[in-house]
Amino acid sequence: MDALVTTILLGIMQGGLYTLVGLGVTLTFGVTHILNFAHGEFITVGAYAFVLFAGALGAGLALPLALLVAGGVAAILYVVGFRRTIGNHLQGLAFSLGLLLFAEAFFVRTFTATPRSGPRIEGTVSLIGEEQLPVGRLVVIGVTIVVVVVTAFAMRRTWIGLALRACGDDEFAASTVGLPARRVGLYAFVVAGALAAVAGICIALVVPITPATGLSFLLKGFVVAIIGGLGSIEGTFVAAMMLGLLEALGTRYVEAGLTNAYGFVLMIVILLVAPAGLFNRRQVRAG
């Protein structure tokens, strides 16, 4: 019983991290139709920025700085690269894959492949029964829930959120109401970069980071964005939680060696049942 609670909490934490990553994938895809394979590198950028700034300036300052660095990197990459590939899927693919390879090599060269730890949240509490729950994981769950709720609220209530949804819905219609699609694409990348950085910081709070940290989460982020029905926030959240829980339960009770396979099985099953993803309400328009 206690082990089940711990396992479920672990699943929720993973699900929260997948949500943060998947939201970025879905948001940038929704607005710019770019599938950014280098999106995971924003996680790595955020994680390293957090660890390095925390060493020099303390964790309090490192938090906003890491968000700023990842958002800034995303903005620069959009302006110099991604923006020019809009409408040309092969170019976008080539650019983002090239960027991924470059970033991986850059991180290994600069930071080496040795795992690094930042300011970890250590210690455990016992909430239910005897089972000890790591505080760090509980903090991560809290942070991801708050960030996801704030993001969902901002998407509904703010002008930028409305712009992102409108451009994602129909780019031409958006241009008829005076929405600058290319600029809105920039907002999407900055928001995606910052969300990925939050994921990176959360990861750094509980485990050591390596240059490959982002890449492993990217694949899961893609899976949940696709299962959720690319472009849907609710879909991404639901899919991420399903994946996180499935992985945690499968690892604990079925076979730990298959952790990375569960998600892809889930994706295949769901896409067989609902080919457009769980929450894809996009309609095919005539003409």
């Binding site: 409305l162 949804r165 031409f172 219609a173 241009s175 008829t176 109401v177 005076g178 929405l179």
Partner: protein, 239 residues
């Protein structure tokens, strides 16, 4: 009286193909000018060029000043295009569609007041304010698309085939709605329509566009008549 919207020698080119070839016309303030013609004649291209949604050569002047060359700035200058096929934001609520229409409007209470007026005029949309626009009927979506454009405070409204695919009763509703808002907001309308009978209900003058060229400028009333010889049809109707 000089034209409020003046189009001079407008041409639209897609690669090698010329969709609009040197079209010129003027529309007076508060007037509705129809552009009619068969599918592929260049109506949409003309309308999009006026609203700066596609590149063009030639001049588009609003009150004597060139309409800026980007779509964003053109909306800001008061030239707003309502797309063919409606193209509401299907996944956004009715209220959010209207809010998105006000993107170029700085002051919140301005567009909120306008939205309130719109809801009074179209209670059906008000009732369904929180419904996803994709779930509305075709006629409701057309009203919403026009309403969305109104939220940008247009002085020139470019309507691309507003009657397309609508039931006869929905066409009547849209016609009445267009008459009312044009009066109320003193708008100049460029109406692009394949349906000549519908165009005749709203416009007094019509350009006949064929293969991107204005073939003739006619009295729109003659468009509504089915007979090939207008004089005969006119006398027949009087009897």
């Amino acid at each position: 009286m000089t034209a409020q919207l003046e189009v001079r020698d407008l041409a639209v080119r897609y690669g090698q193909a010329l969709a609009v070839r040197g079209v010129s016309f003027g529309i007076e303030r508060g007037e509705t000018l129809a552009v009619v013609g068969a599918n592929g004649g260049g109506k949409s291209s003309l309308g999009k060029a006026v609203a700066r949604l596609v590149g063009s050569t030639g001049d588009v002047l609003l009150d004597g000043t060139p309409v800026p060359r980007t779509a964003v700035a053109a909306v800001g200058a008061g030239v707003v295009y309502v797309p063919e096929g409606r193209m509401v934001f299907t996944q956004l609520s009715v209220a959010d569609n209207l809010r998105a229409g006000a993107f170029s409007v700085r002051r919140k209470h301005d567009w909120e007041a306008r939205r309130a007026t719109l809801y009074e005029r179209l209670p059906r949309l008000a009732e369904r304010a929180s419904v996803r626009a994709g779930l509305l009927s075709g006629g409701e979506q057309q009203l919403l698309a026009i309403g969305r454009a109104l939220m940008a405070f247009p002085s020139v409204l470019v309507l691309d085939e507003p009657s397309l695919g609508l039931s006869p009763s929905a066409v009547v509703t849209v016609t009445d709605f267009l008459r009312e808002i044009q009066q109320e907001y003193d708008m100049t309308v460029l109406l692009l329509e394949q349906n000549a009978a519908f165009a005749a209900k709203l416009a007094r003058r019509a350009l006949v566009l064929e293969l991107g060229v204005v073939r003739e400028v006619v009295d729109a009333a003659t468009l509504a008549e089915p007979a090939p010889v207008p004089a005969d049809a006119e006398s027949a109707e009087r009897q």
